[in-house]
């Protein structure tokens, strides 16, 4: 009887796919390269990381906002013959969604191993903050209900959600600033991070106001970079160089009601994570209490907080307490964005946070700790700054991680991985 089958249950694919390789370019401003060249660089790094030849990759996927290159160009450059490719429109929350679709493509027999990449000159070409050429474009159609009001950039669009959370729950600027403070501590131990400088709560709340409630330091960095990861089935995953990061569950672009303008359906201080949690924890067979390390998307400080709250890492309304408690700090019970994330490492629309968690699960985070003769990291678990004898950002004995991807308050994605 077909009625006996829960057709929505991704749980049948739980633990059957894995990420076997990750790669990135440097995080820069002014890459001096095309997105094609950046993309090739990141995909090649992911191939080298996995030890996989071009002949064993036959799928490619990417996402962009008309600001990038196509799979066909990178595949041609790298000598990859594709059985499947798909380049989609999208920004934040696309990374996790495409990993899910890559699993689907492999499961359907369309291909065997898929590279997912994101390549962008988010500072020197199409600025992610919305400044530059796009800010002067004519406004028509449905945008008349948005951009015509100077309601245009991500920060401007999200601000009523963030503001209402402060009103509903008494969340303070100082509590939320701790997201930046903690991510800056993590970035200080990340040789790749664009901003390595540690900041204080005072630095955040005294930085210039962009759009209340967002100060400059509540906002992410804009950078030029490409990132890539490789997905394959578990039966192949152990043929390559690394301990696979096995995928327990994935949710892609889950939406709140009225996603045409989600403010019509409140509470507006609730975000898509409220709906994602019921999908992903069921499919992964665990709950937030089992997650040891999170990658909660930090386009803004508020973004991390709202998601952690609605996924159930704390009670509703207590996100301010959660993010300022120290639990998210390296050495805390559940570190968040150990690379420094979008606030500090670089802006990649979520990819770098997945890459970081893959490395966490391998126990091979690329921090300032020494490497032994076999090329393995000898982690010290001293999270002080490198100049203070620290420089580590490996979470000890991490078995399960979760990424909390964000497109906007009304849309998000998620990915739960375990150590293979």
């Amino acid at each position: 009887m077909t009625t006996d089958i829960d057709a929505t249950a991704g749980k049948y694919l739980r633990d059957k796919y894995a990420i076997i390789g990750v790669g990135e370019t440097t995080y820069t401003r002014g890459s001096g390269k095309t997105t094609r060249a950046l993309g090739t660089w990141a995909v090649k790094n992911a191939m080298d990381d996995a030890g996989i030849p071009a002949s064993e990759i036959d799928g490619m996927m990417s996402y962009s906002g008309n600001d990038s290159t196509a799979s066909t160009m990178l595949a041609g450059d790298l000598g990859i013959r594709l059985n499947f490719y798909m380049d989609v429109q999208g920004g934040g929350s696309s990374s996790e969604a495409l990993i899910g679709l890559a699993i689907g493509a492999i499961e359907a027999g369309m291909c065997e191993t898929v590279v997912v990449f994101r390549s962008m000159n988010g500072y020197s070409q199409v600025r992610i903050g919305g400044t530059g050429a796009r800010a002067s474009m004519p406004v028509g159609g449905d945008a008349l209900h948005g951009a015509a009001y100077g309601w245009f950039s991500a920060g401007q669009n999200f601000s009523p959600t963030f503001m209402r959370h402060m009103y509903d729950y008494g969340t303070t600027p100082e509590q939320v600033a701790m997201v930046k403070v903690i991510h800056s501590e993590h970035a200080a131990n990340n040789p790749k991070a664009y901003y390595k400088q540690r900041v204080t709560v005072e630095d955040v709340v005294n930085s210039r106001m962009i759009c209340k409630p967002l100060h400059l330091l509540d906002c992410c960095v804009e950078t030029d970079n490409a990132t890539a990861l490789i997905v394959t089935s578990v039966d192949k995953a152990y043929d390559y160089a690394n301990t696979p990061a096995r995928i327990l569950g994935v949710a892609g672009r889950v939406c709140k009601p009225r996603i045409d303008m989600h403010f019509q359906h409140g509470p507006i201080s609730t975000v898509a994570g409220y709906y994602i949690k019921d999908l992903i924890y069921r499919n992964a067979g665990l709950g937030p209490e089992d997650i040891q390390c999170t990658g909660a998307y930090d386009a803004f400080t508020f973004t991390s907080m709202l998601q952690l709250e609605d996924y159930g890492f704390c009670e509703k309304g207590e996100g301010g307490d959660y993010v300022s408690s120290g639990i998210m700090r390296l050495g805390g019970a559940r570190p968040n964005n150990t690379s420094g994330g979008h606030l500090c490492e670089g802006y990649t629309h979520g990819m770098n946070m997945i890459i970081e968690n893959v490395r966490q699960l391998r126990g091979e985070v690329d921090d300032y700790c020494p490497t032994d003769a076999n090329g393995s990291k000898q982690h010290t678990f001293n999270y002080a700054e490198p100049s203070q004898g620290g420089g580590c950002r490996q979470v000890p004995d991490v078995e399960i991680t979760q990424n909390l991807g964000w497109a906007m308050p009304g849309t998000g994605s998620s990915l739960i991985m375990r150590k293979g």
Partner: protein, 178 residues
């Protein structure tokens, strides 16, 4: 095709965009209308303009006049403008005003929340003194900024006839007096 310059931006409603055409035509007549579902079992009003009913999926609708008064549900206050058109108007407010009409319907957290900038009674962008007076809970009424024939933008101004809260909720940190 209504088209006009507004704050240095070109605003356009395309010929095929029937729902937005009619919405902005009513705004141009300074008579706020929204679409009401024509399904007898539904009859809900929706914002922004769309091509079907978000509650019953019905495609038929009628334009109905709506009393455009309400309460600020939330806001953003832009101090560093992104679009060149808005730079000289910063700080400016983006208001999400919950209309009294259909507030809390059909379920508790649903409402018609209509976006607009804070303007004075003449429709001019609010200066810092006025911005400082408005926050969550402020009572607002609609005013229109004329852009072109068939195209005016709805905005919000303080409702002089309404009882205002003693101190509407505002973000706790002031910047340059606002």
């Amino acid at each position: 095709m209504p088209q006009g310059e507004y704050l240095g931006m070109t605003l356009t409603v395309l010929d095929l965009d029937n729902e937005n055409l009619e919405y902005f035509q009513h705004c141009a007549e300074h008579d706020f209308h929204l679409q009401q579902c024509a399904n007898d079992d539904c009859g809900l009003i929706r914002y922004p303009p769309g091509t079907a009913c978000p509650w019953c999926s019905g495609r038929e609708f009628n334009w109905v006049p709506v009393d455009a008064r309400g309460t600020v549900h939330s806001y953003g206050e832009v101090h560093h403008a992104i679009q060149p058109a808005f730079r000289e108007r910063a700080p400016y407010m983006i208001l999400l005003v919950e209309l009294d009409t259909q507030s809390g319907a059909p379920t508790e957290h649903e409402a018609l929340r209509v976006v607009g900038n804070l303007v004075d009674a003449d429709g001019t962008f609010a200066g810092p003194d006025l911005v400082k007076q408005v926050g969550i809970g402020s009572r607002m009424r609609i005013v229109f900024a004329d852009v072109a024939e068939g195209l005016s933008l709805p905005h919000w101004t303080l409702d002089e006839d309404a009882e205002q809260p003693d101190s509407p909720w505002r973000y706790p940190q002031e910047v340059n007096g606002v």
